[in-house]
């Protein structure tokens, strides 16, 4: 599983973000609290609702603290799942990655 690169403040998401990954993802996101992060979801092949919850909660919290949290790259699977779930958060699905 790839992990975050704290120096570059890029959080690279693992391929599988199923329900077993939610706790770990939560920890990883919390570890970046207070700094701007870019999320790389380009390798994600599977994402479950609980991980989406973590990401969306993060996006909201970051926004509230006026920090930046943005998904810079995203795989199709990531995008489609979020859309399927009816998630339309600007930070998680920014216009750039949707083209």
């Amino acid at each position: 599983m790839s992990s975050n690169d704290a120096a570059a403040k890029i959080l690279k998401l693992p391929e599988v973000l199923d329900l077993n990954a939610a706790s770990r993802l939560h920890e990883q996101v919390l570890a970046h609290k207070g700094e701007d992060i870019d999320i790389d979801a380009s390798e994600v092949t599977r994402v479950g609702a609980q991980c989406v919850q973590v990401l969306l909660a993060a996006a909201k919290s970051w926004r509230a603290e006026e920090q930046s949290l943005t998904v810079r790259q995203a795989s199709d699977a990531f995008i489609k799942t979020l859309q399927l779930l009816g998630i339309s958060d600007e930070a998680l699905l920014p216009k750039e990655i949707l083209k």
Binding site: A22, H26, G48, Q53, V54, K60, L84, S88
Partner: protein, 768 residues
């Protein structure tokens, strides 16, 4: 965890579900109209079906499906419960149990019985109950499970499974009374809010929504307001809920079908029609991102082409050109891109649960968690604790003997050790304690079967089924109970006609009760039948040479004759209870458990069999006494009080009996040493101590012993296992000094003291 282990877990869970099913049905039968009871029953069948589907147990799935369909009618109030329906359902529960057992252990089941029940169930479901010959069962309904069952086997790849959608379409249309509107598309609003259990069980909202997308075009709105800030978030919690507009040419059932495996772990609601208001409200909230809904091709979900989708809008429209599938929830092949390819969903759920159990780390405080432990391990632990108790006693004794007792530190330590040992022992015992409920429930089935065979109407009433007793006791309880229940229905209860003629209710009542009484569990089987035919029993006993023709027996003694090994009742017994097993075998198996059985019977009113069994077969609080230089242990639970007899209190009663006056009553005085043949003559009561005991029959007796040594907890070592059964002795134990002491069977001694009428099996010469 390999497949077999998972399967084993499935079957264990099946047993629990079957028990749940049966108790629920019985509650409904008793007039419980709580919808939650119906739900619980439905849930049980449903879970079995779900698990069975995952393992490809087609027969089980097929039957469970039919059963479930009928239950669903009850659940949705389309079908009223009636005693006929309940009868069929209870039988169905039995068949389901048989099918489960057959799936686990191999073997076959009576197919004709199953198919008759299938027809009956379907007739009920269609609202045309036909108790006799049902017409050809609705074919579509039978096809559905058959088609569903093989799916899990096809999970090897991602290829689309070839389905004939037309069949399903027809079926759904036929089953749908509501929305068939001339082939037009109907709109439903689905509200779906998972609970964290849903995820914990390996279900995934994403998969459910994908499956739903196959039913029709979706407009999905995710409500995320409950989402807490990231640092307060439980990553394994459930915060999202969804409002979904489904436009489909299917009916409501097709939508429900998607959620059927998740239904119990989420709030789920389907309403016909679009809830435009709810959607509109949301649109206002999201007004800063005004965006037209964009059609969304489901094929994208399968990772094929990248497809541009316009940017974030409050509601994403998901449409699907392909024909919808009616069986999506159970279709792992379709789930494949998101689910691990080799795991069907139900299996995944089991695996996920098992993983949770293994990883004690992420224990979320929720429902009480349980683990399944091999019984052998518990037994080993209990054995070890037993040794620990003995060892602790020995240690205490040697401290006393060496007179190092002066040091208070040692004494204190010993006391603490004793306390701890005691606590450990209690805790270990509690692990083994189980409610008698499963055994009682099994009896329900036996009653039904025998009632069917004998043409009698019987209602089984159980009480105190949560009474807990050691697992070993429970395991050995089923057989004697079965025999007694058979006997009670077969002989005790009269036929409905006869009952009516006698002015009784046509339905006989069999009451099965369990309760704790003075450290034992007492189980009663009471029927309201004819009672024991004493004349008949007596003449039979004379015929068999058990009693002399002129012997004068009390009613109680006559009743107890039926427990006598020589009391063959072949002529009297029918082929149901008379399968070569008499009440003597029942009595013996209960005695082997350290229990006793007695009977009271009132002609015309019925009989009550009372069994009293120890709660545990492992330890006992006892009073250590000396009798004729032997050390004996008397179970403390039997002792009411101890007293020092005085000469003026002792009265002779006949040539061999003595009475002791205790306050203002007289009580038979029993010389334990004499009864056990430790000494030929009666000892002088003044030299000994009297233990006032409560015997099973309720009466009090004074047991005379030479001296009391003390009171202590002893570990029971079975005499039967290590030596042989000794009348008057319940078991043995090892004392602190390493010597063996015998544990007195108080009731046996009391019975023996009553005289010799039935004491052929009570010759107490073997005691040493």
């Amino acid at each position: 965890m390999d497949m077999n282990e998972i399967k084993e877990i499935f079957f264990q869970e099946c047993e629990e579900q079957l028990a749940e099913l049966e108790s629920g049905l019985l509650r409904i039968n008793d007039g419980d109209s709580d919808p939650e009871t119906v739900n619980a029953v439905f849930r049980a069948v449903h879970s079995i079906k779900g698990g069975a589907g995952a393992f490809g147990l087609d027969e089980l799935v097929a039957f469970a499906h039919v059963f479930e369909t009928t239950l669903d009618c009850v659940r949705s109030n389309k079908l009223q419960t009636s005693s006929d329906l309940l009868k069929v359902m209870l039988k169905s529960a039995d068949v389901l149990a048989d099918l489960t057992a057959a799936s686990r252990d191999g073997g076959s089941i009576d197919k004709s019985r199953t198919s008759v029940l299938v027809k009956e169930l379907e007739a009920f479901a269609k609202g045309t109950p036909l108790p006799v010959a049902a017409p050809a069962a609705e074919p579509a309904k039978q096809e559905a499970p058959a088609a569903a069952a093989p799916e899990p086997a096809e999970d090897s790849g991602f290829q689309p499974v070839p389905f004939s959608f037309d069949d399903f379409g027809d079926e759904d249309d036929a089953a749908s009374p509501v929305e068939a509107g001339g082939g037009g598309r109907s709109v439903f609003t689905v509200r779906f809010k998972p609970r964290s259990d849903l995820y914990a069980k390996g279900n995934e909202a994403v998969l459910l929504l994908r499956d739903l997308a196959k039913v029709g075009d979706l407009q999905v709105r995710c409500e995320t307001d409950t989402l807490p800030p990231i640092d307060q978030l439980d990553p394994e919690g459930a915060y999202f809920s969804w409002l979904i507009r489904v436009e489909t040419d299917k009916d409501e059932d097709a939508i429900r079908h998607v959620f059927e495996f998740a239904e119990w772990d989420c709030m789920f609601e389907v309403t016909p029609g679009a809830d435009e208001e709810a959607f509109a409200a949301q649109t206002v909230l999201g007004e800063d991102q005004p965006m037209a809904p964009v059609p969304f091709d489901l094929s994208m979900l399968d990772d094929e082409p990248a497809m541009p989708v316009a940017a974030a809008e409050p509601a994403v429209v998901v449409s699907m050109p392909a024909p919808a599938v009616a069986e999506p929830a159970a279709n792992p092949a379709e789930d494949a891109p998101l689910a691990p390819p080799s795991l069907p969903r139900a299996e995944k759920a089991i695996a996920a649960e098992a993983e949770k159990k293994d990883a004690t780390v992420a224990a979320v405080p929720a429902a009480p968690q349980t683990i399944r432990v091999d019984l052998d391990r518990v037994d080993r632990l209990i054995n070890l604790v037993g040794e620990l108790v003995i060892n602790q006693a020995m240690l205490a004794q040697s401290v006393v003997e060496n007179e190092t007792g002066g040091s208070s530190a040692i004494n204190l330590g010993l006391e603490e050790l004793q306390q701890l040992t005691r606590e450990i022992q209690d805790s270990v015992m509690a692990i083994r304690a189980q409610p008698v409920k499963p055994v009682f429930q099994r009896m329900g089935r036996i009653v039904r079967e025998i009632a069917d065979m004998t043409g009698k109407n019987v209602r089984l009433v159980t009480e105190g089924e949560n009474t807990e007793v050691d697992k070993t006791v429970i395991d050995k309880l089923a057989e004697p109970l079965t025999h007694m229940i058979r006997n009670a229905v077969d002989h005790g209860l009269e036929t409905p006609e006869k009952r009516l003629a006698l002015g009784k209710n046509a339905e006989g009542v069999l009451r099965l009760t369990a309760k704790h009484r003075s450290g034992r569990i007492v189980i009663e089987i009471a029927d309201d039948g004819a009672g024991i035919n004493r004349e008949r029993v007596r003449s039979k006993a004379i015929e068999n040479g058990l009693i002399a023709p002129d012997s004068n027996l009390s009613d109680e003694e006559i009743d107890n004759l039926i427990f006598h090994p020589g009391f063959s009742t072949a002529e009297k017994l029918s082929d149901i209870s008379g399968r070569g097993v008499g009440m003597d075998v029942v009595k013996r198996s209960i005695q082997q458990l350290g229990g006793r059985i007695s009977i009271t019977s009132k002609p015309g009113k019925g009989s009550v069999f009372t069994m009293s069994l120890p709660l545990t077969l492992a330890v006992l609080d006892g009073m250590v006494v000396t009798v004729a230089n032997q050390t004996l242990v008397v179970p403390l639970t039997a002792i009411v009080e101890t007293l020092q007899p005085e000469k003026k209190d002792i009265h002779a009663f006949g040539p061999t009996q003595r009475l002791i006056a205790i306050r203002d009553t007289f009580c038979p005085l029993i010389d334990v040493g004499h009864i056990l043949n430790f000494r030929p003559d009666l000892a002088n009561p003044i030299d000994g101590v009297a233990l006032l005991v409560e015997s099973e029959g309720g009466g009090q007796r004074a047991l005379m012993v030479d001296a009391i040594q003390g009171q202590r907890q002893v570990v029971i070592k079975s005499l039967e296992a290590n030596y042989t059964n000794v009348p008057g002795i319940a078991a043995a134990t090892i004392l602190g000094d390493g010597r063996v002491a015998l544990i007195l069977d108080v009731d046996a001694v009391v019975t023996a003291s009553r005289g010799h009428a039935l004491s052929s099996e009570m010759t107490l010469s073997a005691t040493g």
